[in-house]
């Protein structure tokens, strides 16, 4: 932007008078103009093009506008010739002059016979502008992106920019006699007026589609397509048009403004003043997509994406005590402005909301005061016991451990038996899905936290687009970290549909997935919300299944957990074991928990919530690295339930050992965090969950982590005994203790191994069954990860061990991984690419 001109030069007087506007001031680089009657959208575009800068419109009374025009430009007789008043200067030129002019300017000349002017093209420029500029569009080619315009005098660059702004096509000018241009304008617009008159709607307000067709933005077949979609989904026409990609958000907002005769706010480059913002509460703005812009003469001008939204109108009237006047801005403009204005508040809300509302349920602190005392006391007693009666103390520890192991084994066996004997998942048949009426489907928010995952963007977009759900009812939020420039660039380089929204999460501690999800949740517009990771490929019908499952379930069910599994199971031995473990966890164990109505530690993705319920629960704990497991327990404590739906999301199994250990260390750390958080008040937990679920929590959350930590101890003792038959071991395993330990070793280990076999079999992964038999080797890795996570809990409790993804080699022939595009086969991420992700399941081995 060049130097700022004086206000009088900012807008040619003729233009200002023709459009009924007057420049008021500069607001940064934005020219604020006042109007009594809001100009049409394309006229506003023209004004901006003429002014060479963004224009913000404020409304003033008509006499005030006239007075200001007079003060600035003098009386109409004093009007200085504007840059675009060329028409008058050439009105008397004859064809010969025009030919010579064309030749000297290197332009084509035409006599402009009537058949050369296509009415549709001519209507791209409004009649008023056409006459003012003495220009008529004769033809347009969307394919070339050009519009051929007949002008009376060669246009300079500004004028061409004006035409381009109006038509959204690159102008190619030809010279024509002015009289012929006038005639062509008359003819084209007269024909259009007649056509409009014939089709005039009895309602005074013109229809949106009609306006768009008239402006040449869409054609009739496109409109019919959008109307058909509207009928099918029950969504407003605007959303249908957006969903079909027929119109952009800005164009839509401008046309709505035109339709409703409201000002259109192209952009908000300068923030509204704080006192103006304070007039409307932030939550009203966020919930109803409102943006207070300015107070003019005691009237608050508020921009809205949908001025016909009655709920928003009511909320606005209830919240604001002064008169308001509406303007229209695109949803994206409002959203981006709100996020810019309220970023610090949103960060605070997404970070500290749970801590503020339920401090005892936040993992902000690892141990509470009482827990610290209890831990020290336990350690002291154990130490004293080891000094005074080492054998008895060790025996007591063994007994406790064995009892715990046995309880876990028995409980897990019971849960799996429930799954084997019943089908506890909420199954939705294909014909039920087919009967779903799209009009009755709720809006759905999909949160996709991304961090350094540029390589996954294409797959992610494809997977979301493959969902069988009306796109106009989707609100997909790509949550990008502010410092992650690569992913931001990658996302912006993709052609995202209108259902995608990019949300930049400001850089702030803790930099965790739950914080990003909370940030996104604040802006969720759906009735339901689900989280997917970047590499997730959900079953296409998952959202519909979740909706149906919610409808069928009692109100207490506030979470639907889809099953997770891996698409790259055949990549190597690690992915095979990992997949077998996942199959066991999600296909046998969690359904068993569901069947017994026990608290379900949720998997990291594909958990579906009603937004209101999730907000009521305080959303995710940003300090907990298994926030999903935590929220599963929290909802159970609040008397709610989780159900498992028979739908799968395919992910990428970590295929490298160190990466796998990092991921597992985070999961175990998170499970310990979750256990500690909820055990701050054991009695309260007992009361809230009930005795059975309290025990289940101990065995599932506490037991999962503890078994992984204890396994190496017992393997070590067993090896020592086998090699040396050391007397100490004989002493600490007397009689019954020895039998119980042997039972655990021989029967428990077999059962846990076999559960992986069963999981693979149930999932239909026949090729994994033989590998599942060797799961005990995999448990050793689990314990390494567990100890890493446990130690990290002391040093860096909220540190998020990111998992490197994008290394999957997916064989296109692999069954059940067909959801992954075959062209991904063999593709690898750039070295060092880090990924969040991964469900926080804690499958355990004895």
């Amino acid at each position: 932007m060049g130097d700022r001109p004086s206000l009088g030069d900012a807008l040619a007087p003729s233009v200002a008078r023709r459009f009924g506007v007057v420049p008021l001031r500069f607001d940064g680089d934005v020219l604020v103009v006042a109007a009594a009657v809001p100009p049409a959208a394309d006229e506003l575009t023209a004004i901006e093009a003429v002014a060479g800068r963004d224009v913000r419109l404020v409304l003033l009374r008509g006499d005030e506008v006239a007075r200001l025009q007079h003060e600035m430009y003098g009386s109409p007789a004093d009007v200085r010739p504007g840059r675009y008043a060329a028409g008058e200067a050439t009105a008397s030129a004859d064809a010969t002059f025009q030919r010579r002019l064309a030749a000297s300017a290197g332009l084509e000349f035409t006599d402009l016979p009537p058949e050369e002017v296509e009415v549709e093209a001519a209507l791209l420029i409004t009649e008023r502008l056409s006459r003012q500029l003495r220009v008529v569009a004769t033809s347009a080619s969307v394919a070339d992106g050009t519009v051929r315009v007949a002008v009376a005098q060669p246009f300079d660059a500004d004028a061409l920019r004006l035409v381009e702004a109006i038509t959204a096509l690159r102008p190619v000018q030809v010279l024509a006699p002015p009289a012929r241009i006038d005639a062509a304008i008359d003819e084209a617009h007269a024909a259009a007026r007649v056509a409009r008159a014939r089709e005039r709607d009895p309602e005074p307000r013109r229809r949106l589609g009609e306006l768009l067709v008239e402006a040449g933005v869409i054609d009739e077949p496109s409109l019919r397509r959008a109307l058909a979609l509207q009928r099918r989904t029950g969504e407003p026409l605007g959303r249908a048009l957006l969903a079909l990609g027929l119109v952009g958000q800005d164009r839509l907002a401008a046309t709505i403004a035109l339709q409703l005769r409201l000002p259109y706010v192209i952009d908000v480059r300068r923030d509204p003043r704080p006192e103006v913002l304070a007039l409307v509460p932030e939550n009203v703005c966020r919930t109803h997509r409102l943006l207070p812009l300015e107070v003019v003469d005691g009237v608050l001008v508020v921009a809205m994406a949908d001025p016909l939204d009655e709920d928003a109108g009511r909320a606005l009237r209830a919240a604001v005590k002064i008169p308001t006047r509406l303007a229209v801005a695109s949803d994206a403009t409002i959203g981006a402005t709100l996020e810019r204005l309220y970023a610090p508040l949103y960060v605070e809300l997404s970070t500290t909301e749970l801590l503020r509302r339920r401090p005892d349920e936040s993992a902000y602190r690892v141990l509470s005061g009482r827990q610290t005392v209890a831990a020290i006391a336990t350690a002291a007693v154990a130490l004293a016991g080891l000094v005074l009666a080492p054998t008895a103390t060790l025996t007591a520890a063994m007994v406790l451990s064995i009892l715990f192991y046995s309880a876990i084994a028995v409980y897990k066996f019971i849960l799996v038996y429930r799954t084997v004997d019943h089908v506890p998942e909420l199954a939705v048949a294909a014909d039920e899905l087919a009967l779903l009426d799209d009009r009755h489907l709720p809006h759905y928010t999909i949160l996709v936290p991304l961090y350094r995952e540029a390589v996954m963007v294409r797959q992610l977009v494809d997977a979301i687009n493959a969902l069988d759900y009306p796109k106009e009812k989707l609100d997909v939020k790509l949550l990008l970290e502010e410092d992650d420039h690569d992913t931001i660039a990658a996302v912006r380089s993709h052609r995202l549909g209108p259902h995608f929204r990019i949300t930049i999460v400001p850089d702030a501690h803790p930099k965790t997935k739950p914080k990003a999800c909370n940030y996104g949740l604040l802006h969720a517009r759906g009735e339901y919300v689900v989280i997917y990771d970047a590499e997730d490929v959900p079953d296409p019908d998952q959202l519909k299944k979740a909706v149906l499952a919610f409808r069928r379930s009692p109100p207490r069910v506030v979470c639907m957990q889809a099953k997770l599994n891996y698409a790259n199971r055949d990549q190597n031995l690690l992915t095979r074991w990992f997949t077998a473990e996942y199959s066991q966890w999600f296909d046998l164990f969690l359904p068993g928990l569901d069947a017994t109505r026990a608290p379900v530690p949720l998997g990291g993705t594909s958990n579906h919530f009603p937004v209101a319920k999730l907000l009521e629960l305080g959303a995710w704990d940003p300090f907990n690295v298994t926030e999903d497991a935590d929220v599963g327990i929290r909802l159970a404590r609040s008397g709610y339930r989780t159900a498992i739906i028979d739908s799968t999301t395919y992910e990428e199994a970590t295929s490298r050992v160190y990466n796998w250990i990092r991921q597992r260390s985070r999961w175990v750390k998170g499970y310990v965090q979750t256990w500690l958080v909820h055990m701050r008040h054991p009695v309260r937990l007992w009361r809230e969950l009930g005795p059975l679920n309290f025990v289940s929590f101990q065995l599932v959350v506490g037991g999962t982590a503890l078994t992984m930590l204890l396994n190496p101890v017992f393997w070590g003792l067993t090896s020592l005994w086998a090699l040396t038959e050391a007397g100490l071991i004989r002493e600490i395993f007397p009689g019954v203790v020895y039998f119980a330990a042997a039972g655990n070793l021989l029967v428990g280990n077999f059962l846990f191994t076999y559960l992986n076999v069963a999981g693979a079999l149930r999932r239909g992964y026949d090729d994994l069954v033989r590998y599942a038999l060797f799961s005990p080797l995999y448990w050793a890795l689990m314990s390494v990860g567990a100890w890493k996570g446990f130690l990290q809990l002391v040093t860096r409790p909220s540190y998020w061990e990111k998992t490197v993804h994008g290394m999957a080699r997916v064989d296109a022939s692999t069954p059940a991984s067909g959801a992954i595009a075959p062209e991904r086969s063999g593709r690898r991420a750039e070295p060092g690419t880090l990924f969040w992700s991964g469900p926080t399941s804690g499958p355990s081995g004895p």
Binding site: V420, P734, G735, V736, F739, A742, L746, F750, Y754, V757, A758, A760, L761, R762, G764, D766, D767, V769, R770, L773
Partner: protein, 545 residues
């Protein structure tokens, strides 16, 4: 449509009842029905069992031995899991562990019927479900279940605490699951079949004879359905893994605790008696015995084989062969052991409940219009087999206590002291009398040196195994050392008199083997007879080391 259904031309499509797993309400009703059947059957078997055990004193020595060793697991000092023994299959003892924990249940022997009734009732539930899946209407189904459940052999074994009913339950469960899997292809059924065989084999080793049939059935059915090689492999791995692990675990335990990994297999039968019969006649004997025990067996086997061959239905062949395996197994075992004692009725029960599973499957193939008639015929045949079985129990030379059971029930007579055609004597009173003497006169732990394999009845009746210095306490090596020089190691020696012959080597008293002249003038001088009855003798050890 399955290949089997595709080859059923004689039944009109409209008449055929598709083999569909019960769903929703039907499933819940079937669940409630199972509870009802189980509760009724359990109450009946437990009541009959308690009466015959506690009042009529019909107690099979093997059952008492398993209970005694289950009791020793908890009450020995120190408690020892190895007390379950390593010759006979361990599940027989393991199932008795829960009730053996309660001393009065064990010492009174009430634990025996109370435990076996669980498996007897479970067996009837399996039969009931198999018939339900075969499309037999409810009342008729119940009648058939009752006719089967009232068969005197089933009543006897469901109430006597023997291992027979345990392995019958698991074997029947395996084949009932196989039928269900063939029909419904439920992913979990091969797993459950595997576990049923795994536990079944550890309840009675011969159950392994049916495993190849089941595995072949699974593989054939999958191959007929054009399943992938990976699917066949996975299914077989899932089926066989529990079996292989169970056997390996047992081998390992034997190896680690006795040093003889497969002694349970090689030493189970000693070949004590010469065998004069040859293979063919043995098979014939076994077939005849089969007919006498449960005449329906061979008839149903024939029909299943015929249907299987005619319709190329693998399941028909598998079930038919499963019914024929029993006499073959008996013949092989007798030949291997060279001991005709294995022709006992108890060893030939194996296929009896399988008959009902096969019959239920066959009924499912019959058109609904004729199914009722067929089911009525089955009911009549089952009812008719009751007297046949009863007659065999009373008159056969191959019975142990079966005849005492019926005799006791019919006449209400106490059977204690009676000797079976095979030479075993019921000796509950002797055990209790000796136990009472020991309790009155012997104090302290490890005071009575005894071979628990022979005197378990006394130890159990006493209720304080810590009093006895037996082979369980510190193992055979230490016990044998004590046996070589008992003076100073114990105060008494308890032996079983007469070396009553049983079917296993360790049923003989090793003290009597070591000191055959014990108590006689020319016997060891350190022993003085303290007390004796018809079955047991207690000697006081005298002298200095």
């Amino acid at each position: 449509m399955s290949p089997i259904a595709a080859r059923e031309p004689r039944v009109r499509r409209s008449q055929r009842t598709p083999p569909v797993a019960p769903r929703g309400r039907a499933r819940r009703l079937l669940g409630r029905e199972a509870v009802g059947v189980f509760a009724t059957a359990y109450a009946f078997y437990a009541a009959v069992g308690l009466y015959t055990t506690l009042v009529l004193h019909v107690v099979v020595g093997d059952a008492e031995s398993r209970l005694a060793h289950a009791f020793f697991v908890w009450w020995n000092e120190p408690a020892k899991l190895s007390a379950i023994g390593f010759v006979w299959p361990p599940v027989q003892t393991l199932v008795l562990l829960p009730l053996a924990l309660v001393r009065p249940f064990a010492t009174s022997l009430a634990a025996l019927p109370l435990t076996s009734a669980v498996f007897g009732a479970g067996l009837l539930v399996l039969v009931d479900k198999a018939l339900a899946h075969g499309g037999v209407e409810r009342r008729l189904r119940w009648a058939i279940v009752a006719a089967f459940g009232l068969n005197p052999l089933i009543v006897f074994y469901a109430g006597n605490g023997m291992a027979e009913i345990v392995f019958l339950y698991f074997l029947t469960a395996a084949f009932a699951l196989l039928v269900r899997w063939t029909r419904d292809q439920r992913w979990q059924d091969p797993i459950l079949i595997g576990f049923a065989f795994g536990v079944g084999i550890l309840a009675r080793y011969e159950v392994a004879a049916w495993l190849p049939l089941a595995v072949a059935g699974i593989a054939t059915v999958l191959a007929r359905r054009r399943a992938s090689a990976a699917r066949i492999e996975a299914t077989l791995i899932a089926t066989l893994t529990p079996v292989v692990y169970a056997v390996l675990l047992w081998v390992y335990l034997n190896w680690s605790l006795t040093g003889k990994p497969i002694a349970f297999f090689t030493e189970q039968v000693p070949g004590a008696a010469p065998l004069r019969s040859h293979g063919a006649s043995l098979v014939l004997d076994a077939l005849v015995l089969q007919l006498k025990i449960f005449p329906l067996t061979l008839a149903v086997a024939f029909v299943a084989l015929w249907i299987g061959a005619r319709r190329r239905a693998p399941l028909g062949l598998v079930l038919g062969l499963a019914l024929c395996v029993n006499p073959l197994t008996t013949a092989v075992l007798v030949l291997r052991a060279r001991d005709p004692i294995l022709l006992q009725v108890r060893y030939n029960l194996r296929a009896v409940p399988l008959v009902l599973v096969a019959a239920a499957w066959l009924l499912g193939l019959v058109a609904p219009a004729r199914r009722r008639l067929a089911a009525l015929a089955l009911l009549a045949l089952l009812a008719a087999s009751i007297p046949v079985t009863a007659a065999t129990m009373l008159r056969s030379e191959h019975v142990l206590s079966e005849g005492f059971f019926l005799d006791g029930l019919i006449h209400g007579r106490d059977q204690d002291g009676r000797v079976s055609p095979l030479g075993t004597r019921l000796s509950i009173r002797d055990e209790r009398e000796m136990a009472a003497f020991v309790k009155r006169h012997v104090r302290g732990g490890d005071t009575v040196l005894t071979d628990d394999a022979a005197t378990f009845g006394v130890m159990l009746a006493d209720g304080h195994p810590a009093r006895y210095f037996d082979r369980i306490d510190r193992g055979d090596r230490v016990w044998s050392e004590a046996l070589r020089n008992p003076v100073g190691r114990a105060q008494y020696i308890l032996v079983k008199r007469g070396a009553v012959r049983a079917n296993a080597a360790n049923a003989f008293d090793r003290i009597v083997e070591r000191y055959p002249q014990l108590g006689r003038p020319n016997g060891p001088k350190f022993a003085r007879l303290a007390h004796a009855n018809r079955t047991f003798a207690l000697y006081a050890i005298e002298g200095l080391r």
